[in-house]
Symmetry: C2
Subunit: 394 residues, 2 copies
Amino acid sequence: MDTAATVKVLNFKDLGALGSAKKKESKSRIIIGEGVVTKDGLLEGLVLELFQRQLTSCVVITDSNVARLYSQEIVQHFSQIHKTSLIKLPPGEESKSIDSSVKILAQLAKLGFDKEGLLVLLGGGVIGDLGGFVASIYKRGVKYIQLPTTLLAQIDSSIGGKTGVDATWGKNQIGTIYQPIGVIIDPSFLKTLPEREFLNGIGEMVKYGVTSNARIFEELEGNSNFESLSELTHMIEPCVKIKAKIVSRDPNDSGLRSILNYGHTIGHSIEASSNYKASHGVSVLFGMLGEGWIAHELGLFQKDDFQRQELLIKRLLRKRNNNTQFRAILSLRHEMLAKFALSDKKNAAGKLRMSLPDRIGRMHINEDGTFKIPVSLDLFKSSFRYMKSIFSET
Amino acid sequence: MDTAATVKVLNFKDLGALGSAKKKESKSRIIIGEGVVTKDGLLEGLVLELFQRQLTSCVVITDSNVARLYSQEIVQHFSQIHKTSLIKLPPGEESKSIDSSVKILAQLAKLGFDKEGLLVLLGGGVIGDLGGFVASIYKRGVKYIQLPTTLLAQIDSSIGGKTGVDATWGKNQIGTIYQPIGVIIDPSFLKTLPEREFLNGIGEMVKYGVTSNARIFEELEGNSNFESLSELTHMIEPCVKIKAKIVSRDPNDSGLRSILNYGHTIGHSIEASSNYKASHGVSVLFGMLGEGWIAHELGLFQKDDFQRQELLIKRLLRKRNNNTQFRAILSLRHEMLAKFALSDKKNAAGKLRMSLPDRIGRMHINEDGTFKIPVSLDLFKSSFRYMKSIFSET
């Protein structure tokens, strides 16, 4: 296949259970390249190569915002090789529900979509999580690929097969681990990405820096303004590599992978208790502030590194105009946050557990060999006071 | 552990994806023994051995019929080692829905059930399928064991990790493949099993005979009256072994495993279009009649074996008093059956595909190396006329 010289193809074996037991298919392929989705003809070639055999049909699942910009073009690409249909959802976290899943399942059944078909998930984290969940439960699992259109999805949520929808009792509480057969990342989608969405991705970049790679953190310290897209796109590949490496070592999220949840125990609680008025990015940045503070209080996170993290996150938050979100977070009550935090998937026996850093680039390993450190409810509540104090300075 | 001499422990590796990626846990253990669940103390020992570590809590999921007879005793067994709760559902296929799943998920969340807990599925196929589905999607997967209480569940549905609920467009259309960590089979449950439930299991025994093991078929030919339970229980273990062997060779249902779907394309269509008035057993017996006839018409199923199958199934159906069900099946229209058959998971590109026998004990391999043989809609419709003719003789 003749693809542009800039296209990188990364093969990761053992990314866990796929829909098929055949060894040759039990890998996920991650393809990164400018224009790889949007450029004429390239996508069909990639998809054909991913499969190396005939599909019965394709269904593209997307939201109406992405659809307006890209769906016509992409449905047309796929139509040249397969019968292709489009399912459009309202944009936003509200679509990530059991009800939406059931509606999509019914639409797929009505389209006669079968186990030899391919679902194409075109969108950000919501479409990827929801569509992946649908792929995992429709007729006991069908094949799907991710075409992530946001920075967050490109560097994080599209990789690793975590699927899910939100429940009334918390975010991502219903879901599966079910790998896509491929992830095709085209940074040119980011040209149309709204400001708020950028911060979602940058939050995860900070996470990769603190949990796994001090050089990514240093790069962010040296350049936390991100005036132009080009300052960001070269960081996609190193982030993708960290994610894929960790997932391939722990596909089912039973150990190492929990380090990628740093900042997310508090982050998800903020999102859920603000009724998703606070974005994922701002919530996770606040979450890392809080969990970093907890790690420091527990004597784990070294003081200089804790302060470096605080400084970087303050700069990132200050740079953006997030007053509405800040007000939403400020008005939260810690009782509410605690309620959601107590349903976090890392907990056991009603006790909070978090993944916490020792240093920038290194996570703390607990006595029991896991990365899940017990945190008292009091310390959790105090971290919220600390977060509020940071906010009032910002 | 000191268990009765009659307890058999079968270990099957590679039964596919489990909740945990740890190698040592990636096997399903199947334990068979009279009294192994109901006898004091035995169950706790088995469960502790299955885990070899502490659990945070147990939740027993069952239906109100089974609960009336057994739940108090079993909840008490588990309570001696773990905090244990009970979730009770109305009996019957109506509980196998997305709505029931969501209710159970919410109850689990309310109980604070976490990823270190164990779901105990106590019941027949409905509880096993529904509970397994819930286990696979609660917090992206929790551990579960099956305690099957019906013959059907003990020899078939509890083994192999097929989970699911029914959709308006067909049976088992929403589900996952997600292995239990253990299946504990106690034939003493069958002492309280209603007559109708027995035939469900015997239908699957005929299936094992035709698809995989001529000796099982011969045993059924020699003894299709089953006046007492003891005539049946010795056949549980050979059936379990066939199922586990096939599943371990094809955990994700991408090839060989489809032979176990013999009789089920038509069988599921009868069940669904009769609105579940026709039982699974009677439907699958009719389904094997019809699919056997199709196999014979296609020149696959040899005449003498086809006739032996017809004779055995007629005897099994005649032996039981099934007039209400027969009337329900007789009143079905083939258009309705075809509608449901067209949503069967084995189909591709809108074409019916079935697994069909060559001989008693041997399934036909298609030109493409699969066990899925294309069947025209006309032949499907004709098979219904043949089934009706059998019924009018019965």
